[in-house]
Subunit: 487 residues, 2 copies
């Protein structure tokens, strides 16, 4: 393949012809980069990765360009060689999934066609696909409602922001005090950040003994606050442990106090695809709005966020008229108005990859793949529990998240034990051998301890593939490297 | 090619091998869809497009999946056949650019590797590439500053939101009244929407005679408001006309009143790549922050937004600690902290396509391509001006935007004239022959009139390619179809 600069072709638009050549360059670079990396992440730690990355792609803005093929190969090679690869069974730190090939290929269509979802005349067909998909995603949560709706977001953070924004506007319309948000101590940081961004009062933090929001504590908190607009934000799938708040009880308490319920199911929402697992989210249908992500359990490349609402009218505060995008006379003449579907204006059609995936797998395939992840976590947790050098956290796994500690850490004073856990994780990162997560959550005695976290989102990995991970952890816990333990 | 469902491969992660097969399916569908469409957008209007789209891809969530290849082909074919294709010379309504092949191919790398930009252990190399790119993009605006910085956003709307958020927090720190935003009547709706979202007072709207913010009017508005934290939002490249506010004068007025200046250069910012055109943005360096998009003049698939700030310390309000992503001991041990670079958490590496494009074209290639668009607009405007049946708006073109009206519309009473302009545009949309924009802005006599808008962002199109467009407009203006003119 000729990778010499061809300046005349550098500014070619993304025709299928031009893309056939260049995607081939990109895929070569991905394969070469993965082979050079040879593991779940590059070895050597941040400085080594930075030096190698710069060697492949700096300067990023030279005076004279290097041509499309060389530039593309260099950037793609650098990104692949220096990736933490979620498709590797040992890359299990975060709610960071391996994307499906069908989704990534559909995402190429989004990039090549570049429809923007803010007006019909930029996205005639993509708008229809979004309508079909959001209807299905809304129905997944609110099958019993006459007119639920959903919008596509950049992720749980934006979904939570929009949920709070909509609730703020409903509260404003009552003319009462500003909306008061109630949030579990177990909630994702994005809920508190959203309240801050929106200029709302600081949320009241509700106790979460055992990692789940306590209905009794919520009841007290709502009573203490007195009457007025209130939004309770519960979590279905905590980031640290994958736990699901007791939704039916929380919904009851909220209703008693005249408060609304929003559920952040960024992680857990896709359990609804599975008939067997959906009952774990019982009560979610009482929420006025529900956040869920398909770039976690859903195997989409980021971004693929969803905000479902119990009734389409709840989205009204997002409506907006801008003459150049949705003039009244155009809308009257039958041109669909897309502008009120997002807080963004120009908007990538993330829906295309979602549509291709849902249609490829069907509800049964989506459900089976979620069940696979949940099942793998249960098996992995049993393997941890059976291992003499490891201790499984009580209550683990939650959804597909497993917390555990080396017994060697338990044998040390609390602080030193936590330092050992942190060092094991950093050592394995620096060696390029495993990407493990960490969670600082209370032990059975109520005092916080640091745990290793494994989040299983891989549609193919089995517990057998993870045996090596336990060996790596126990070996490192016996002999942590100095390099990984300090500054 | 076998497109029958292969259920065992449906949930394959995005390996280069799996992608080679599936991207080929997607590119076939793109080519087939474009051929079936046969023009800049599908003919028949919204209902026809919706029916055809549904035929190709509904139901999007069947009980049983149809397999990866069939699903992908159907979605890609539907999206392509029903696209408003910005690569077609007659698709010129919006700041909706044809994406470059090099950018779209690099975007496939983002989808396949799925690095998430919120922690080092999800994006070791992508974080380094982002650091290099944001440094270059900050330097483009603030070459004279010691430590400018920039963050990547989902577009101008998010950039403006973050700019106002940062200003709000600076104002809060002074303990004075809430931040008061001053915005031109010519500004993008996202500025007022951001103030609403952030709970700020309604912005003061400043007069814009001739489409540009008046320094004298700004001076009066600031004086009327009295002392206290104030942010003036100027525009460099208005959506309707592509006009640039008088930045040096506005910066002077703001400074006199102790107000800060933010420039929304979502459209105009990339003029800075061109030595010849950069002087049109003189004064921009006085802004505390600057919005610009590379998915307009920059030929990226959405999203590729930038917010540049005059000093890295200005981003401090975005900083955030979440133990699972950037624990203090990890940061002390040398793991880079990425969390304070966005209001999102999970975040697609939009920077990869930007990096590939900048390195492929270099500063000179970027500048030359911007100059091409600006030059094409000037030529097209001359052709309009020379055409006996068309009237060019005085002051047009701005950057690469040309406004004009059929003379036939001028001959009618004002309302009927505007209806004719709207009907011409809708007719051409319904026929699938052209995607023209519209702008409601004052005529030379000061009264608002509806104009046809052509926004030229194509890196290859020349004024010669646009001759047919003038013919279409004049023909339709003589004989508008009933279908396009009413409900």
């Amino acid at each position: 393949m000729n990778r010499a600069p061809r300046p005349d072709a550098v500014a070619d638009p993304a025709s299928p012809h031009a893309l056939r050549r260049l995607t081939s360059v990109a895929l070569d670079a991905l394969a070469d980069g993965a082979a050079a990396r040879g593991g779940p992440l590059p070895a050597g730690g941040p400085d080594t990765v930075a030096a190698r990355t710069r060697a492949l792609c700096a300067p990023v803005l030279p005076d004279e360009g290097v041509g499309a093929e060389d530039a593309l190969y260099g950037i793609a090679r650098a990104a692949a060689e220096g990736a933490a690869d979620p498709s590797d069974p040992h890359c299990v730190a975060h709610l960071h999934c391996p994307p499906l090939a069908v989704a990534a290929a559909a995402d190429l269509v989004a990039s090549a066609l570049n429809p923007s979802m803010d007006s019909w005349d930029q996205a005639p067909a993509a708008a229809v696909i979004e309508e079909e998909v959001t209807a299905a995603l809304a129905h997944l949560v609110y099958a019993g409602r006459p007119e639920p709706d959903a919008v596509i977001t950049s992720g749980g953070t934006e979904s939570n922001l929009v949920a709070l924004l909509l609730a703020r506007e409903r509260a404003r319309a009552t003319g009462a005090r500003a909306l008061q948000v109630f949030v579990g101590a177990n909630a994702h940081h994005s809920v508190r950040r959203a309240a801050w961004m929106l200029g709302l009062p600081t949320p009241v933090v509700v106790d979460c003994p055992g990692g789940r929001m306590s209905p009794a504590a919520l009841d007290r908190a709502l009573a203490d606050c007195g009457p007025g607009p209130a939004l309770v934000v519960a979590t279905a799938g905590t980031t640290d442990e994958g736990l699901v708040d007791p939704l039916p009880e929380l919904a009851d308490v909220a209703r008693t106090h005249g408060a609304e319920l929003h559920v952040d199911a960024a992680y857990g929402g896709p359990l609804l695809f599975s008939e067997r697992l959906a009952p774990r989210l019982a009560g979610i249908e009482h929420a006025v709005s529900v956040t869920y992500d398909l770039h976690k359990l859903g195997w989409q490349p980021v971004a693929a966020g969803v905000l479902a609402v119990a009734d389409a009218a709840l989205l009204e505060p997002l409506s907006l008229t801008a003459d150049y995008l949705n003039a009244d006379d155009d809308t009257e003449a039958g041109l669909p108005d897309l502008l009120g579907r997002s807080i963004r204006t120009s908007r990538r059609p993330d829906v295309l990859k979602i549509a291709a995936t849902l249609r490829a797998l069907g509800r049964r395939g989506m459900g089976a793949t979620v069940e696979h992840c949940v099942g793998t976590a249960a098996e992995f947790a049993r393997a941890v529990d059976d291992h003499p050098a490891l201790r499984l956290r009580a209550g683990s796994p939650g959804i597909s998240t497993v917390l555990f500690r080396p017994v060697a850490a338990d044998a040390l004073p609390r602080e030193a034990g936590d330092e050992l856990v942190a060092a094991v994780r950093r050592d394995l990162l620096a060696e390029g051998r495993a990407v493990l997560g960490r969670a600082l959550v209370p032990d059975a005695d109520g005092s916080p301890r640091l745990w290793l976290k494994v989040t299983l989102l891989h549609p193919r990995t089995t517990a057998d593939d993870l045996g090596g991970l336990l060996k790596l952890v126990t070996e490192r816990a016996e002999a942590p490297m100095t390099a990984g333990t300090g500054g």
